[in-house]
């Protein structure tokens, strides 16, 4: 069995985690740029982070036969100061494609962009990063807010995305739950379920959502990071689906084929 974890923050994980993931069948990860648990004090801090994501992390993953891909952006939590956010966003094009000076060749798109507290400042920078994705023809990975802010934030984000020319089939909206998944799919976007203790969905609920909303345009990820999270959440969800009697083809579809199909829209994604 093999699987892809399409959203995991490996910079926050130990090398042991790569080893355990490889042993559990992980052959590729994609790592969106996000908040590090504290606010960075300068744009230079992001520059170093982007280099870590494009240069260092792929080498660490490769030791265990795992391919590492990434997404760049300024995350919504640090995007509340538009001047600062623009300084960070202006560094991204050089990392994006083969014409960029700093390209590691593993950047799949812009992400994880979105909203955190649903503020006007966050929305301005979200719109500017959507425009960046439009200009450079990049895939988009979207972070939706937590808990009580998720429903409103998801709708605001979808409205901002729908105002762009980006095909919704090139956008994945992550951290969906039972109250947001159907709107996301109905509007033509891809949906990601995050298997994260307490604030997102459990493997059981992820299996429930697939049973209720189908297995098209949907994937699951661990979003493993510096918080209480589980880098083996995807294989655990695979087991949950199997113990209910779902076919191996269905399990493979949501944990391998679907991520491969979505990510292959980027010329920088291919599995070796």
């Amino acid at each position: 069995m093999k699987y892809i974890d399409p959203h995991i923050h490996m910079v926050s994980r130990t090398t042991d985690d790569y080893q355990r993931m490889a042993q559990a069948g992980c052959i590729a990860v994609t790592e969106p740029a996000f908040w590090a648990g504290f606010d960075r004090s300068s744009a230079q801090g992001f520059y170093d982070y982007f280099r870590q994501l494009t240069e260092y992390e792929p080498k660490r993953a490769a030791q265990f036969g795992i391919q590492h891909f990434t997404w760049l952006c300024i995350n919504p939590k640090e995007a509340d100061d538009p001047g600062f956010a623009r300084e960070v966003v202006s560094m991204i094009p050089d990392f994006l494609n083969s014409k960029g000076e700093l390209c590691g060749g593993n950047v799949l798109g812009i992400g994880e962009i979105g909203l955190n507290k649903n503020t006007k400042n966050e929305l301005i920078i979200l719109e500017e990063q959507i425009a960046l994705a439009e200009t450079f023809n990049q895939l988009v990975l979207v972070h939706t807010p937590h808990l009580e802010d998720k429903l409103k934030g998801t709708r605001l984000i979808m409205d901002a995305l729908s105002a762009s020319t980006i095909d919704p089939g090139r956008i994945l909206i992550d951290h969906v739950e039972e109250h947001t998944v159907s709107e996301v799919l109905d509007r033509g976007f891809w949906a990601g379920m995050t298997l994260y203790p307490d604030t997102k969905v459990t493997p059981q609920r992820a299996a429930d959502i697939i049973e209720m909303y189908g297995d098209e345009r949907i994937w699951m990820n661990s979003a493993g990071d510096w918080g209480c999270s589980d880098p083996l959440a995807v294989p655990k969800a695979r087991l949950e689906m199997r113990r209910r009697g779902h076919a191996v083809t269905t399990v493979d579809k949501v944990t391998f084929d679907n991520p491969q199909q979505f990510l292959s829209q980027s010329p920088n994604f291919s599995l070796s």
Binding site: D80, E177, E178, D208
Partner: protein, 102 residues
């Protein structure tokens, strides 16, 4: 794959999950008992109010309970603050008089 399909029978689902959710049910009961035993006023916290409304959904016999509880615990206001400066993190529920519970 067809929608609305769980490969298990109702009996198999109960066999698989009853013990796990029995424990979670007792947890909820113990939590409500704990709130009762707490000191101070009965002045209801908005999260406690929302929690008790959510518990009612569990037994209303209608489908989509998880989605409806998440909706109940969501901000339905249309206000957009300029900045998050000074705002608290997410609290998990919204006051019913302040954009909660559509």
């Amino acid at each position: 794959m067809n929608r609305q399909t769980n490969p298990q029978t109702k009996q198999q689902i109960v066999d698989t999950y009853f013990m796990e959710h029995r424990a979670k049910l007792v947890d909820i009961a113990a939590y409500l008992d704990r709130v009762d035993r707490g000191h101070g006023d009965d002045a209801a916290d908005f999260r406690d109010v929302a929690f008790r409304r959510a518990v009612e959904i569990l037994l209303d016999g209608q489908p989509q309970r998880a989605g409806r509880i998440l909706n109940l615990l969501s901000d339905h206001s249309t206000k957009l603050p300029q900045s998050a400066d000074g705002m608290k993190g997410a609290l998990g529920a919204v006051s019913l008089t302040d954009g909660g519970a559509a």
